[in-house]
Symmetry: C3
Subunit: 397 residues, 3 copies
């Protein structure tokens, strides 16, 4: 039973230009992904995360963070399920006391069997890690992938075409606060919603828009190929940028057939861009001078961990306190909770169609989606590999 | 491990006489089904239902109700998931503002992309609809099924062989109140329980029976082929009627081996009949002069939406108020809640056996089930088609 | 993505010596299993249990307990779902009143159809049953398995090599109290955790250990083949015994590499043994003179019902009252709840690895696991058959 019908068929099969993207249900591998905020992993503690099907244990010892496979080689339990931190050199399994070296993952001893012949002969894998601006990033993919790309190659470009540029995440001394949580949709649906110029309709009545009387267009009509700019620096970031403020887009402010008009009198400059492996930048949002960084980190093929982080510069303790105040009393309730909940609702609403009905080949894209198509092609071309499903998710034979 | 064993095998394979019925896990198509009570869909509102695997959005605009496919052609979200009713001509998707004509399902505009070339070229399907006696009925099946059968052909026959006949649902000016809700069993198990003469045992100790001191037999022993009457009017209703009051059934009032006797001193005339695609009529229940209409509407292959509705005539506002009083204080708590909960319990108890262990070929029917077998054969012969599973439920290749 | 890597490969495929054990996901058949405590089934009552995929209805009538298949032959409902006990001779189905003889399972009457031709021709299966020391045991397996083994053959041996031997469950007049509940892991992971000498680490900080200042070693290093004794009496129990107190094990009390030392000053004699089909004995625990019996009863392939029972002798009502006091105020909160919750946590933590990633072939056993390997071989050799999955769990074709 086909509930949606196209009166005239488009020639050709959709999706051929971005076939690798369609295969990336578990994400792209050999990229840097955020795992935890630094303050979520205090000294001596242990936490587990799942990224693109990899279960990873993160432990901080003597200030340094280590990432190892979160599964004991002995009987397969999740090591992070219970904290058993006996010393600063090992990741110790709580069940039988298998102790793995934090640096190399090699089995160093077994608590109850110190003469065991398998000591030194068993290893769990380790992951490259960087902690920057209060966020712990892990490089997830093939154990032997070399050379290791720089973290900056998987983040937005520094902004240079703006008289008042928003900061870059890797600058020192930034204000950085935000959230991350699990959404029940594939990461690609999260990513596409993030920079979709047509999704503004779900925000037109949100509290932050109403409270600030912000003007929100109904949509953006691309009028030239420059509407979406491609960023593909050698050994640097690969992404797309919606050039909302260049004349390459015509703003839609009224639709007479539908009977709806844009609201709000405060016109506000902002711009969105999106980078491999799945990082959003919104310049000058929620307020001028600040920026939002968002990530859509694959968890498994049906879930992603979304990150929504605000960054800003401050020159004094008073300015920092003011940003904290704004975060607690405005950004968090109005942006990270109310505004953002509409995005999550939309992504989860798409999930059933894409997962169960192969929406990827049946969707009916329109002009509003030209940026999404550009992203799919770019991601198909520049990703560093397609993550295969983990063995526990593969069909058993 | 066969837990039930038959000491002597019956020859032949059961179910051959009603093979189409056994295939109708998703219901019969090209029939009229109740979708909502009229008062559940106020002016301007939007609600989604699922019938036989079809997801259907119902919207009332300028008093009229429309039924369309509940899935946006763009990115597949459920349109009824959020109300975005901008005008009286469209069904508008809340995500990107795709606006479909209520009459024809054609895409009329996109809120943020009013010049989009796909406007007018994409369509979602519409469903025939009738609103009668406070109930919205939808014709579910093939989009091109013609001629459209009348609603009355999918309802019980008018009663003519009774000096005090109960009313027919399509009469004007009736009292109509009731409930509908989801049960976790296939619709056929709901239907069969509805008119099963052997299921009286689950009601023998119910509050409405105890309170009215009603006589309930332990069972009905058919003594002639006239016990179950077949109704098969040309272009009209197809159903079966249990002729409890004709002498074709012997009432069982005591079972000495089990040690149980019928209770209750008030003997009360009633009769049950059952019609395609799944509509029960109980004449003179819960009180003489009233009738119960029940439906067992397929949702998916493991759930059905059951309807339980009481109808009656009244000649004055005082009589109508009295029926309201009886409904609120007697029928609803004692029949629709207490009495009926036993039926739902029984249907859900059968589900596991029929779904997981192929109860359809392993069940051990007995004489009490002759009406059920007659229904299965009649439904196999007169249904207007077997509903195929929706694409999202079919095995993926 | 293999998260655990072995630096040097072991020759040969693991598990070949105990292949039957690896196939016994649904347990071993033709063995005695505990089903309920006697006081859970009062006179006239009915309860359902699932053991190794068999759904079994237990009913007590005139003091005697009967076990029959818990599924009506008519339309497959679970008979124990509602109590419909009309007399002391039948198991009566609550739906249509099918009455099965408690002794033979034969259909004796149908409440509403006493002349039905299928009466006497349909049968549900019955199970052998023994009620001893306040526990109802059922023999689960093939209907025609003969001769019926004695219950004592599936219980621990009586202890004879101890000057102060703990009692045996089949002795008369014992104190017997305990718990049973469902755990979300395969029964084999429950069983192996039960007597695993390496799992002491999860108990080293438990309240009962801290409160009694008990010495707990970090592990046990087997120094001779006599560390694990095999028990294989002809027609009697088959099991293994950890000979902790014979010098065949060296106690590990410190691990310098990990930086952990044993705590506690009270050295306490105890011993663990484990018997087919899955029965643990811990002598002299939680206090000297008492014993723990544990069972790990397969429910389905992903769950087991664990039993944890303390038994003891008493010579006077004052001694019995004292045992009751100890049970309520010490054993129950500190052993059956706090201490035991760590075992259940560990078993459930293994489940995912063994079920989804075939831990059985990928686990990396060490010296601590020599008792487990011995058990697997013994169980493979002496079990009375491998339980096949029930029809409802088998893949449908």
């Amino acid at each position: 039973m086909g509930s949606a019908q196209q009166i005239r068929r488009k020639p050709g099969r959709p999706g051929k230009e971005y076939a690798p993207y369609l295969e990336a249900a578990w994400g792209f591998k050999n990229h840097w992904y955020p795992a935890l905020f630094s303050d979520e992993l205090p000294e001596g503690s242990l936490r587990g995360v799942m990224i693109a099907g990899h279960e990873i244990a993160l432990r901080r010892a003597k200030g340094k963070v280590y990432a190892l496979a979160d599964q004991c080689a002995h009987r397969g339990v999740k090591i992070s399920a219970r904290q058993m931190c006996l010393n600063d050199e090992h990741l110790t399994c709580w069940y039988h006391g298998f102790c793995y070296g934090l640096e190399d993952g090699v089995l160093k001893t077994i608590v109850g069997s110190p003469k065991d012949p398998i000591i030194g002969k068993v290893r769990i894998r380790t992951y490259p890690l960087e902690e920057r601006s209060g966020i712990i990033f892990v490089f997830v993919g093939d154990p032997d992938y070399r050379p290791l790309p720089s973290l900056s190659a998987d983040l937005p470009i520094p902004i240079t075409d703006d008289p008042n540029p928003t900061p870059h995440l890797l600058e020192e001394g930034l204000f950085v606060r935000g959230i991350h949580a699990l959404a029940r949709s594939n990461w690609r649906l999260g990513a596409e919603n993030a920079f979709d110029p047509g999704h503004v309709l779900i925000h037109w009545d949100n509290a932050i828009v109403a409270a600030t009387d912000s003007f929100i267009p109904l949509g953006f009509h691309p009028t030239s190929p420059e509407a979406v700019k491609i960023i593909d620096l050698p050994d640097g970031p690969k992404g797309i940028m919606n050039m909302y403020n260049t004349g390459a887009y015509e703003l839609v402010t009224e639709n007479l057939v539908a009977g709806i008009k844009s609201r709000g009198s405060n016109h506000h400059y902002l711009r969105t861009s999106f980078y491999l492996p799945g990082c959003l930048l919104v310049e000058h949002w929620p307020l001028t001078g600040l920026a939002i960084y968002g990530w859509y980190v694959p968890t498994d093929d049906q879930h992603h961990e979304y990150w929504d982080v605000v960054i800003g510069r401050y020159n004094s303790e008073a300015e920092r306190k003011n940003l904290d105040f704004k975060y607690e009393k405005m950004f968090k309730p109005l942006h990270f909770e109310d505004f953002y909940s509409n995005d999550i609702f939309a992504r989860e609403a798409m999930q059933r169609y894409y997962a169960r009905q192969d929406g990827w080949s049946r969707e009916q894209l329109c002009e509003l989606d030209s940026g999404i198509v550009t992203w799919r092609k770019l991601a198909s071309r520049y990703n560093r590999g397609i993550q295969a499903p983990p063995d526990w998710a593969a069909p058993r034979d």
